[in-house]
Symmetry: C2
Subunit: 434 residues, 2 copies
């Protein structure tokens, strides 16, 4: 046994075997879940973690982000969406280099590990820099690369980069001991046209991989899609074959009955980004309706420029609260549902089916959450405490595929001070004069 966690309280997917107080990890997988007083005690272990006053739960899956946007954290706020995007974000993104994306991603990964995220979906520019950071830190990720590059300027220039996709997929898919998967990025049905959507779907099929996409984030997107295509973004994507491959559709705030039926039928995973949708004034997705239809709804933070952090505990909390208030029904989005969305369902959306719950045989992506603090006291109900009371800073230990990435809040694969120094340097250069 490589790691033995004893005296621990279990919560979240896999914790149904409620008398378990011990988890054994061997060669990257969960080898034992049960009582300490079983055969496990005899086996010994290279490392024993005392989980007293800790909750063990599956690591969190952040199913939609643009990780390197940590560089633009709190740079532009409280603005109308178009002003924010076109006068603040796009201009500064034109200046990004490999170095910027690498350090911005490192900063985001550091933040995610420190708040309990063990896997994430990323969609950004210069994705080799992202893959390098993911691979060095040992986190799990589904990285998407776009077959088209859009250069904004006086007029939008579109550059075909499908050859880069093929090369990127060959270089990085299933790399980092299988912890990296490569999907295609199809930004949206408003940046892609019908032929480009078809070509992207075809390329994904050729590569035998999936797609990350933004769909129906705003009312404007819905209206303009109907003007342009005579149908919603979900419908045109469906028509072009996008959903014939595994798809993570982010946002999905403004869906019709038809759109929801398409997602259900095609098994599309929907990444709900409550903070970003609220902060940018996009609206409130009808998550209850989606869950009632058995659609795989998962949770994402979106980028730090529209959040403004990458804290999945905060995201779970807000997801659990807003739908109760919006629907005026305190019974919707109960703690167990939300924990499941942020872990097991999230892992499934990212294409990592053999992780995301604490069961024997699963990959060991586990976090330990400290409950020995006044704001978690008394504990009463561990699952509710994880959704309603916890802070990201309560995460004590993070394990991905049996490897400890953080212990006692100390990052093991990241030099935190160096990352902060370099990220600040990059941000200052990028934002100078903006």
């Amino acid at each position: 046994m490589d790691i033995l966690i004893k005296n621990v309280t279990l919560a979240g997917p896999g914790s149904e075997k409620s008398d378990a107080d011990t988890i054994g990890i061997d060669r990257g997988r969960i080898a034992y879940v049960g009582k300490y007083e079983g055969k496990i005690r005899e086996n010994g272990a290279d490392k024993v973690i005392d989980g007293r006053n800790m909750i063990a739960m599956p690591g969190l899956a952040n199913c939609h982000t643009h990780c390197a946007m940590t560089l633009f954290r709190n740079y532009a706020n409280d603005l109308a969406l178009e002003e924010w995007l076109f006068t603040k974000i796009f201009p500064v993104e034109q200046k990004l280099t490999y170095d910027d994306v690498y350090w911005g991603t490192m900063l985001g990964i550091a933040e995610m590990i420190k708040s309990g995220t063990t896997s994430f979906a990323d969609m950004y520019l210069i994705m080799d820099a992202v893959a390098q950071a993911v691979s060095e830190t040992g986190i799990r990720a589904n990285l998407s690369v776009s077959p088209l590059r859009f250069e904004t300027g006086n007029e939008m220039k579109v550059i075909d980069e499908s050859d880069i996709c093929v090369r990127y997929h060959r270089d990085w898919h299933n790399s980092s001991d299988g912890k990296i998967k490569v999907y295609l990025e199809v930004h949206s049905a408003y940046l892609f046209n019908e032929q480009q959507l078809k070509d992207a779907a075809m390329l994904a099929k050729q590569l035998n991989t999936g797609i990350q996409i933004h769909i129906l984030e705003t009312v404007t997107e819905r209206r303009e899609s109907i003007e342009r295509y005579g149908m919603s973004s979900a419908e045109i994507c469906h028509k072009c074959g996008i959903f014939d491959v595994p798809t993570i559709a982010a946002h999905c705030v403004h869906l019709s009955e038809t759109d929801m039926e398409i997602f259900r039928e095609k098994g599309v995973s929907i990444a709900h980004n409550p903070t970003s949708n609220l902060k940018l004034g996009s609206g409130i997705a009808n998550v209850k309706e989606l869950l009632d239809r058995n659609i795989n709804v998962v949770i994402g933070t979106d980028g730090a420029a529209s959040n403004n952090n990458l804290n999945m505990f905060e995201e779970m909390h807000i997801a659990a609260l807003i739908h109760k208030g919006n629907l005026m029904d305190p019974r919707v989005m109960d703690a167990h549902t939300v924990l499941n969305m942020a872990t097991a369902s999230g892992y499934r959306a990212l294409g990592f089916d053999d992780a995301g719950s604490i069961k024997e045989g699963m990959k060991a992506d586990i976090i330990l959450v400290n409950t020995d603090s006044v704001h978690m006291w008394p504990l009463n109900d561990p699952a509710a405490a994880l959704v309603y009371s916890v802070q990201g800073s309560d995460v004590d230990t993070v394990i991905v595929e049996g490897k400890i990435l953080m212990e006692n809040r100390e990052l093991k694969t990241i030099d935190e001070e160096k990352v902060k120094f370099e990220a600040k340097r990059c941000a200052e250069r990028l934002l100078e004069g903006m």
Copy 2:
């Protein structure tokens, strides 16, 4: 000079003098705000705090809570309001003793100080125990005591305790060096009848003090008030003279035009409790409309049983987000507005007009927030970082009226381990068999 804070970044009310990097505190008040390179350097100080990588801001005012309900944290969740209140909360509250309320309040005060709250409004049972805890810990509070006690059982029994109010007011009002104020608690227009409302208003006038009250939290309250009184709870309270004294009205989710005009005209402060209103499915208050009418809207956490913590940074964050999403306008509730609601406006609501902003002459209720962490990095905009990125655990130092209540996250007036031990003991006894 008692305390000198140097090398610090200012944010929130009073920080308009933007080149200041130094705060001097003398005899409980802010004696200097400006550059270190002024006359201040010559004066010396008993204690110098290096504020490098810190933001100094006014302490947070939690304008509606039931502090001792920390004992019931995460005890009952995801239930319909009536089931939660009548089958879970009221029965366990019948068992409360002085000891329970004292330790529950100590736990809540510990949590509030650790997340930056320096003053709060409390409304609960056995208020002598609350005043004892407040006075021992050195936090600032507006405590309300009810002229009526309601014993729930087979039928509701109402006991007149206005003599207790008079005694409590005499014992505690302006005690703790003026850091405690005593208001009357008028629970609501649904627990009080018309005569009782009139009597309470009269008693408040006799004592020359104010009132804390719950108003129009739910649609049910609105409907039943109209059935019973022929008018809304706000209107019947107005008619009975409640608003003739300074009033903090909690919730105010379901207001008519008439109700809003009453609040504006009478200068009522409204305590917005976004988390509780969401979690209990009460709805989303129209805070933008209230602010547009120049009503003093402030922020509260409500009790830990319906939140489930007492973290005002989290409450600011949710207040900043939900109205943008609900109104689909990212420009409402900007960071400066929200910071102001949670500090200067909050202090005004609590009746402490000479604190709540960082200005010379004001009482020194100041917190220092650590920005040297990956989730606050790069800082870019301090005010936005405080609303959108910060965690309660980033609070490093808490000062109330010039006295340090926490430094380097260590509580100075509370034995945290003892409080946890005793609170757990109380909670276990109360919740046994529930």
